[in-house]
């Protein structure tokens, strides 16, 4: 009873994803690359199309750099270097 799947997942037992997570964070691999809120081009990479911050399990960042990225993205949003939600409709 207790080991049964949740009722929402009706399509059989969940399979393990074949996708292998990137092992190293790109900022740890390359020390030259710095995280700066004034540089929206590198930050764009960590933002989804809707302007959301991409989680660590997908971006593959280590927790330290994910924190820095998050901080930088939020700062960049404040000064309109990055959109807050996707592409805003310009009047």
């Amino acid at each position: 009873m207790s080991d049964e799947r949740t009722p929402q997942r009706s399509s059989g037992p969940r399979k393990k994803r074949p996708f292998q997570r990137r092992k190293v964070c790109r900022f740890c691999a390359d020390k030259q690359v710095s995280i700066d809120y004034k540089d929206p081009r590198t930050l764009r990479y960590f933002v989804s199309e809707r302007g959301k911050i991409i989680p660590r399990r997908i971006s593959g960042n280590c927790s330290k750099h994910q924190r820095e990225i998050t901080e930088a993205i939020k700062r960049a949003r404040n000064i309109a270097l990055l959109p807050i939600a996707g592409t805003h409709v310009m009047p």
């Binding site: 710095s34 700066d36 809120y37 004034k38 540089d39 929206p40 081009r41 700062r75 949003r77 404040n78 000064i79 309109a80 270097l81 990055l82 959109p83 807050i84 805003h88 310009m90 009047p91």
Partner: protein
Amino acid sequence: MRMYETIFIVQPDLGEDETKGLTAKVQEVIASMKGDFKRLEDWGARKLAYPINKFTRGRYYFLRFDGDAPLIAELERRLRLDDKVLRYQSVKLEKELAAPVAAPPKAAVEEPAEEAAEPQAEIE
């Protein structure tokens, strides 16, 4: 003394003397509060990622200075009172950045209309 950097966005369509007056005022505030003015960069008018006060473009200024807490309070108060300033953001730096971030890639952010206009000016 702490290290700060401030970015402020002003209205894009200001005249020469208005922007001059604004930057002079900023430097004067720093000088009067015994701050250490490092540099002021003009990034030019750039497209904003979202409209602020119905402006789709804004002129970015990057200010780097050292000072104490009363200075930044006074500076932000001045910026807040100024209608021409759309947005400002001050960040306290933990360590000096090795290389100053070059004026951001303008070509990537500029509107295509302006890019098209530039070569014409060169030809003429």
